[in-house]
Symmetry: C2
Subunit: 208 residues, 2 copies
């Protein structure tokens, strides 16, 4: 969502520095939104799918090792705890108990040896849809002023105001949600958008 | 890197469907690269920093809890293992041993209760630099044909060939590196780039 706001905003701002025709700015902005939402949505879908495959592959490997070389796997369980200064004797009951529950043992290794969380199978589709939809929704905010106004310069001014407010609100909510300081989070997302747009504007003006 | 290749490629391809002037396509592409590299680089830097702060905040909370309400924290350690079907008796030695080593105990809770890895303090800067630099390097590949050739259509053809090859090579190397099937990974990154560019082209042609 923040990328969806920032990049089309900065692109349109940059083009305003080089071109007067809002039609071209809008076309470029919409092309960017189409490209970005597909690249991120489809990219997110395939990344989630390959995470799920990676998990399944490692799980099969652990299942095989637990069945075929249990002594080495028991030693690996013990190693996990020895990193926390526990002795072989203190860990023995846990190692022994896990060795009698192969399914729980594999789950334990996946999480505590390899640090992998079991991916939600539906996540791939929903995350792809969410990413793509929020990129489109985010991108239409900075572009809409250029659609309404016929003057690129005025479009830029309105787009900057609208987008910086949207980035601030988005950053504030994100900060609240993730437990960070909300106001600082709001200022950070606004800063990223402002710097990106400023750089794109300066570069395009310098070229044109 | 893949986003850096895909989005400027798709944007330029989209604009080729609407505009003949390669100068505008190059300007828009460079503005996109500036915007995208700053948004992703600065965004990556701030995300890494806020991960580090989140870790430090949770660590302080665990340190406080271990010191002030040790019984509840010992119960939480036991809970982690009970999820794997272990009994209170089997887990008791580990719980007891951890309770005598507050530092290791906090580390254990961070990793196994909260699932957090300690972030590398230098990672924020290097990851931001890497993201930004690879976005710029990736973006210049699809744009360079439009800089050399004066015809948008010919630029598009050469850009598509060069970019799809670069996406394929990148996907192949990424697949090799992450242990997935390299050829499939190559086809996937090429597919994302092709679909994104096709959609941007169709949309821009439809508007223009």
């Amino acid at each position: 969502m923040a990328d969806g706001l920032t990049v089309p905003f900065a692109l349109a701002a940059g083009l305003s520095g080089a071109i007067d025709q809002t039609a071209i700015i809008v076309t470029a902005g919409l092309a960017e939104i189409a490209a970005g939402s597909i690249a991120m949505g489809l990219g997110g879908y395939l990344a989630a799918k390959s995470d799920a495959e990676h998990y399944a592959r490692e799980q099969r490997r652990e299942q095989k090792e637990v069945a075929e070389i249990p002594e080495e796997e028991m030693e690996e369980v013990a190693q996990v705890f020895r990193g926390y200064g526990l002795t072989r004797e203190q860990v023995a009951p846990v190692v022994h108990a896990l060795s009698e529950r192969p399914k729980a043992w594999v789950d334990f290794m996946m999480r505590f040896e390899l640090g992998l969380e079991e991916p939600d199978p539906k996540r791939a589709v929903t995350s792809a849809g969410t990413i793509a939809a929020s990129y489109v929704a985010g991108g239409l905010i900075p572009l809409s002023p250029y659609m309404v106004l016929q003057n690129a310069y005025r479009g830029l001014i309105v787009s900057a105001i609208v987008t910086l407010i949207a980035l601030g609100v988005f950053g504030f909510i994100k900060g609240k949600y993730t437990g960070a300081r909300a106001l600082r989070s709001a200022l950070q997302t606004m800063l990223i958008g402002g710097v990106a747009a400023g750089a794109a504007f300066a570069l395009a003006k310098w070229i044109a």
